[in-house]
């Protein structure tokens, strides 16, 4: 499955996708987790969150978890979503590996 055309992800999207990947979660939980995980660096509001979630759902990266009610829907990751997440993390790791020596040299030199 070629997922590279979805990359790169916006940092906010990456964070949201990563948290959903850890297990089904509803909107409120997502906002709190993103806030904690990013040390309050990424703050979400409901309208924007659901806009992102809707897009992910349309892309079929996530689906509505079976146990959710209409109001308190939980979202779970799909295999496509997991593949996108993995590809993005891989891309970032490679990028880091490529960029790090520059800083190391800067420090010694």
């Amino acid at each position: 499955m070629d997922v590279s055309r979805y990359l790169p992800l916006a940092p906010r999207d990456l964070l949201i996708l990563a948290i959903i990947a850890e297990g089904p979660i509803h909107g409120y939980g997502l906002i709190k987790s993103v806030e904690e995980r990013s040390n309050a660096g990424v703050l979400l509001d409901p309208a924007n969150l659901y806009r992102v979630l809707r897009r992910m759902k349309d892309h079929k990266w996530i689906r509505i978890a079976a146990d959710g009610s209409a109001r308190r829907r939980s979202f779970a990751i799909t295999s496509l979503g997991r593949a996108v997440l993995a590809a993005e993390l891989h891309r970032l790791e490679e990028l880091l590996a490529q960029a790090r020596p520059a800083l190391a040299e800067g420090e010694t030199g």
């Binding site: 055309r5 979805y6 509803h26 909107g27 409120y28 906002i31 709190k32 703050l43 979400l44 509001d45 409901p46 309208a47 924007n48 969150l49 659901y50 806009r51 979630l53 809707r54 897009r55 349309d58 892309h59 079929k60 209409a70 109001r71 308190r72 829907r73």
Partner: protein, 892 residues
């Protein structure tokens, strides 16, 4: 929605209604729930932070969602699982094709809309182009925003030296213009000679087209000359070997060192566009006149040093003024003890001050016209939209989605907007050219005005916005109606009809109100023009021809002798009854300029009058009789007595009344009109409107021109012609001048009627322009009213049919419809009168002998408007009364 939720959450849930329906259906409940949780869990500032974020970001999200929903941005809807564009939305190419096809089916609608957009955009763009060039754009000089002009006229060489010591200004330029006579190139030609200081061309970034500019060495010899590009083309036919040639100006032989580049823009305020310099020469600083504090001939501009404010420079110039006042109290302090000031003002600001209100007024007027055009566009789209609701409903039923339909309406609007914009730009470039060729108010800086990219961008923005705001929005009403309702024919249901009628009525009211403002403005200006034109100039205008001459280099008696020779020669021309000359003639200085002498003081029998501004008019023999200025008392001085002491003079009646209470009492009085100048009144002449029909009567004293104590380079002749002017009069007058004084240019021979006409040309132009706007607005408003009533009559066909069937008279039905139309017009007129009152003060300075609230004008404007409204209502009313009851009922 749970009633137990806190009000903040309820408010948020309600705020979510601004999202598109599809988004709301999917997620609004979950969003509200999430917000509820956040609110319930948080405390204090955290909770407020969440709430602020949720509310604060909602509008942005909503905009993004709507853009998606309308298909303007990629959005989520357009992406299917595979990420490619789905079959649900069409490409833009298809939209354009569809839109063109659909507009092609309604050519009347399309054409009218394009014309309306074109008209509005054309008018606004024309005026905007001028405003942009004259008021907004930076002057075409380096560091233009630091260039200042020293106000209060011309300055002496003495103060110029002082200015040059100032630290807040790092570059100075001075110039002085006069008319001169060029001989030896065919007929003698009158030219404008401008002398400039060393840094003048540097400050204004001039480049030579040939040869070189003036350099410092030229200032030692001062007999080198630079030609303007226009002069080089006009007089020397663009000769390539011009550099090094010798030309003769006022008897001096000058060497041409270069030709100025054609794109050089003369700095307004130093060199006026009305009298663009033909030759440029270095200032001859060795001329001792520049050492006299009383000889003020230099226009002075400076460049502020970097970082210096205007205030700082103003403070420093004031110090200079103070020093001058101490050193030369005779020249730099007036009789009231006030020190002369020369405050600096930004060059662009000071040179456009005169035309700024006029341009802004015009801009206001064309914006109003655009508003009326826009409202009419809204009418058209509304009417078309109503016709299309069914089409839209059917297309939706056949599978077209809302996004697609909206997109298509969008494309239609934009196409009409763009077409209208193209037309508008075409009209604007035509309009700008026409405007400039008339150039009624001598716009400064308008030499090379063209419709350029900047203006095109402006026009494009106006036209597309117009089409979107007034085309798309009404059109959107046709989308999103329920299909079943449409197919049931519910678009003709009473409630929808009433809503639409109300909307269209408000449009009509707005149109009528706006047009009334334009119509009253036109009326006020027209009436002022008529007021001015019915004024009596005070002398016999018909049959007078004038020849302004510039005899240079003649000293006192020499001048009088030469001019008297010309006068005799002119008087001998067949058909001429009398000839005369003076320093100037009436109606030559009808702008801001005032020729020639003005002294603030007069002493009459020891009584000092300081409040009078007196105009000394040096004139020759037969002046009063040639112009047919009536003598009210006494006589004009006889030819032999002009040399007597005190000078024999004739007072204008106004001055005689002011000083002595009556004209006869003034005769024989002796007064002092300046240092060592005592005059004896031999007669009192009727007042004449010397400086223009709409100008104040000047307090004139006619004095013998032979007594004027210094050399003059002006002699403006007037001749009176008996009855029909003989053919070829102008050339025989020219020949007569040359017979007496070969080599003297005669630039114009003009009838006095023409001069008088020129003095009101600005008013005529204003009236014509505003009358055009007013009539257009009136037509558009009437069309709007007509369309609205026609629509409402159509709506009520059934009702009218029943009424007619039940025996209501046709007149009654007609009266009802006309009454409705007039009702709208009256509401609009009342609002319009309010608007007129609001804009009145901008017009005040252009009115003559009336207030902007002139009841007669306002009343007539309202009557004209209501008459137009009545006519526009009567036509649909006639149609209503002709409704065939049977047919109407059958149709249902």
């Amino acid at each position: 929605m749970s009633p137990r939720r806190p009000w903040v959450v309820r408010a948020y849930a309600r705020a979510l209604l601004i999202l598109p329906r599809r988004v709301r259906r999917q997620d609004a409940a979950a969003m509200a729930e999430t917000f509820d949780d956040l609110w319930a869990e948080g405390k204090g500032t955290r909770r407020l932070g969440h709430a602020a974020r949720a509310f604060g970001r909602l509008p942005l999200v909503a905009v993004a969602e709507w853009l998606d929903a309308l298909g303007i941005t990629g959005g989520t809807a357009a992406l299917d699982a595979s990420g490619s564009k789905g079959g649900r939305s069409m490409g833009w190419g298809t939209h354009v094709r569809f839109a063109l096809r659909s507009l092609g089916k309604a050519p009347g609608f399309a054409l009218t809309t394009v014309l309306l957009v074109g008209l509005g955009v054309g008018a606004v763009t024309t005026i905007f182009t001028l405003v942009d060039h004259v008021l907004l754009r930076q002057l075409p000089y380096p560091d233009a925003d630091r260039l200042v002009l020293l106000e209060n006229g011309s300055h002496s060489g003495v103060i110029w030296e002082e200015f040059n010591q100032m630290s807040s200004v790092d570059l100075w330029a001075a110039s002085s213009s006069r008319s001169a006579n060029l001989v030896g190139e065919g007929n003698p030609i009158r030219i404008i000679e401008t002398v400039v200081s060393e840094d003048f061309f540097r400050m204004f970034d001039a480049r030579p087209a040939m040869g070189r500019l003036l350099v410092r060495d030229d200032f030692r010899a001062a007999d080198n000359v630079l030609l303007s590009h226009a002069m080089w083309r006009r007089v020397f036919g663009g000769a390539q070997d011009i550099v090094g040639r010798t030309i003769r100006v006022d008897g001096e032989a000058l060497t041409v060192v270069g030709v100025l580049s054609g794109d050089f823009v003369s700095p307004e305020g130093l060199v006026n566009s009305g009298e663009a310099a033909d030759v440029w020469r270095p200032i001859d600083w060795s001329d001792e006149g520049y050492a006299r504090p009383g000889r003020r001939v230099l226009r002075v501009a400076g460049r502020l040093a970097p970082g210096v404010t205007l205030e700082t420079a103003a403070a420093e110039t004031e110090q200079v003024n103070r020093r001058m006042a101490e050193r030369y109290p005779d020249n730099y302090v007036d009789r009231q003890g006030n020190m002369d000031t020369t405050p600096p003002a930004f060059l662009q600001e000071v040179t456009t001050r005169r035309v700024r209100p006029g341009l802004n007024l015009l801009l206001g007027a064309v914006v109003l016209l655009l508003v009326v055009a826009c409202l009419n566009i809204a009418h058209l789209f509304l009417a078309r939209g109503l016709g299309r609701t069914r089409e839209m409903a059917v297309r939706r039923a056949l599978g077209a989605n809302t996004v697609g339909l909206v997109n298509q309406l969008l494309v239609e609007s934009v196409i009409l907007g763009v077409a209208g914009g193209v037309l508008g730009v075409g009209l604007a470039s035509l309009g700008v050219r026409t405007f400039l060729s008339l150039n009624p108010s001598a716009l400064p800086w308008a030499g090379d005005v063209t419709v350029d990219l900047r203006v095109l961008a402006f026009a494009a923005a106006v036209s597309v916005l117009t089409a979107l705001a007034f085309g798309l929005l009404p059109a959107l009403r046709s989308v999103g109606r329920d299909l079943t309702e449409e197919l049931r024919g519910a678009n003709r249901s009473a409630s929808t009809g009433r809503r639409t009628f109300r909307l269209r009525s408000s449009l009509v009211i707005a149109e009528v109100a706006t047009s009334l403002v334009l119509v009253t403005q036109a009326g006020l200006l027209l009436k002022s023009f008529i007021n001015v034109n019915t004024l009596d100039p005070g002398f016999g205008v018909e049959g007078v021809w004038t020849l302004p001459l510039t005899p240079n280099g003649l000293e006192g008696p020499e001048y009088v002798e030469a001019m008297d020779r010309i006068r005799a020669s002119l008087a001998a021309v067949p058909g001429v009854t009398t000839a005369t000359y003076g320093l100037s003639q009436p109606f030559e200085f009808t702008g801001g300029g005032r020729c020639c002498w003005s002294r603030g003081t007069i002493l009459a029998d020891g009584v000092e009058r300081q409040d009078l501004r007196i105009f000394l008019q040096p004139v020759s023999q037969d002046y009063l009789s040639t112009l047919e200025i009536p003598l009210v008392a006494g006589t004009a001085w006889p030819p032999g007595e002009s040399r007597q002491e005190p000078w024999p003079v004739v007072l204008a009646e106004r001055l005689a009344l002011e000083l002595f209470g009556s004209a006869p009492r003034a005769v024989g009085q002796v007064l002092e009109v300046g240092p060592d100048t005592r005059v004896r009144v031999t007669g009192v002449a009727g007042d004449i409107r010397y400086y223009g029909l709409d100008q104040e009567l000047p307090a004139s004293i006619y004095v013998p021109i032979e007594r004027v104590p210094f050399d003059i380079d002006m002699a403006h002749f007037a001749v009176r012609v008996a009855e029909e002017p003989p053919s070829g009069l102008a050339s025989s007058l020219r020949e007569a001048v040359w017979a007496a004084s070969p080599g003297l240019p005669v630039p114009t021979v003009r009838n006095m009627v023409e001069w008088v006409g020129m003095s009101t040309a600005g008013r005529r132009f204003d009236s014509v322009l505003f009358a055009t706007f007013g009539v257009l607005a009136l037509l558009l408003a009437s069309a709007g009213l007509y369309g609205t009533l026609l629509y409402s009559v159509g709506e009520q066909r059934q009702e009218l049919g029943i009424r007619l069937a039940l025996g209501a008279g046709r007149t009654r039905v007609q009266r009802r419809v006309v009454g409705r139309g007039l009702g709208l017009a009256v509401v609009g007129a009342v609002l319009g009168l309010g608007g007129t009152w609001l804009v009145g003060r901008y017009l005040e300075s252009r009115l003559y002998g009336m207030l902007p609230t002139d009841p007669a004008t306002l009343g007539s404007a309202v009557v004209v408007l209501l008459a137009a409204a009545a006519l526009a209502s009567w036509m649909p009313a006639r149609r209503a009364s002709r409704t065939d009851p049977l047919q109407t009922l059958k149709a249902e």
